[in-house]
Symmetry: C2
Subunit: 115 residues, 2 copies
DNA sequence: CCTGTATTCAACTTATAGGTTGATAAACCA
DNA sequence: TGGTTTATCAACCTATAAGTTGAATACAGG
């Protein structure tokens, strides 16, 4: 997997388990055991998912005795969202242009052939 | 890889080559050769990337003689962006709550110990 | 110190992503 | 008809993602 920030973020989001973990963390901090509870898979598997999320910067972890409370980090989500929106926007721009083009042609047809 | 829509979309976005292809397509339709031109890798590799993007619904392809013009499809990007923004927002909400909490504690400190 | 709890580390398996090269298919052009 | 261009298919290689089980680590409490 490429290791640039954006790729790490999107790759981390490309898994339902990890998205569910993030959703859970949006309600507040949680320990590894708490996060693992809803899933069928082993605790170790969840621990690995957390590692992926941490590497992507989507979570950070504290230390409280033997617990490692996880919390969300918003920054990479911002970046990802910005990337998407940029191209979503360029699209809309493109649609706008097309609409203007159609409009232009429509008007043009009244007086001339297209070239 | 999980094959739900959101996972397919994020997975497709988790590669710089594919993001570059989408960026290129935001400027308008292009053929496979045109899309492959900027990259060092083989045409077949780019063709595979296009297949990934197509499976994720991020592009669709027409037919014009031996050319297969690709164009962007915005819908999955919308969905992905919505997912991110939902959790980004719950975050902000959380921050707001924390700020209110801090404010509350700050005021509380003037008159009492915390319990 | 020993036990229990929380978490990670290590080794292993299986599936697949992402690249390669070579062959094939489809459409145009001479 | 045959040659060229455009693109895909097929087989293969290598790295790694995602899961498993079992051992190790870190800390709390009797």
């Amino acid at each position: 997997m490429p290791d640039d920030q954006l790729s790490l973020t999107f790759a981390a989001l490309a898994d339902p388990t990890r998205r569910a973990i993030l959703a859970r963390l949006a309600d507040g901090e949680a320990t590894v055991n708490e996060l693992a509870e809803p899933f069928e898979m082993s605790l170790q598997a969840v621990s690995k998912h957390l590692k992926v999320l941490e590497r992507a910067g989507l979570i950070s972890r504290g230390r409280d005795a033997q617990w490692r409370p996880c919390r969300l980090e918003a920054a990479p989500l911002e970046t990802a969202s910005e990337w998407i929106d940029r191209y979503r926007d360029r699209w809309s721009d493109r649609f706008d242009r097309l609409e203007r083009e159609i409009e232009r042609i429509r008007h043009g047809q009244e007086g001339q052939e297209h070239g």
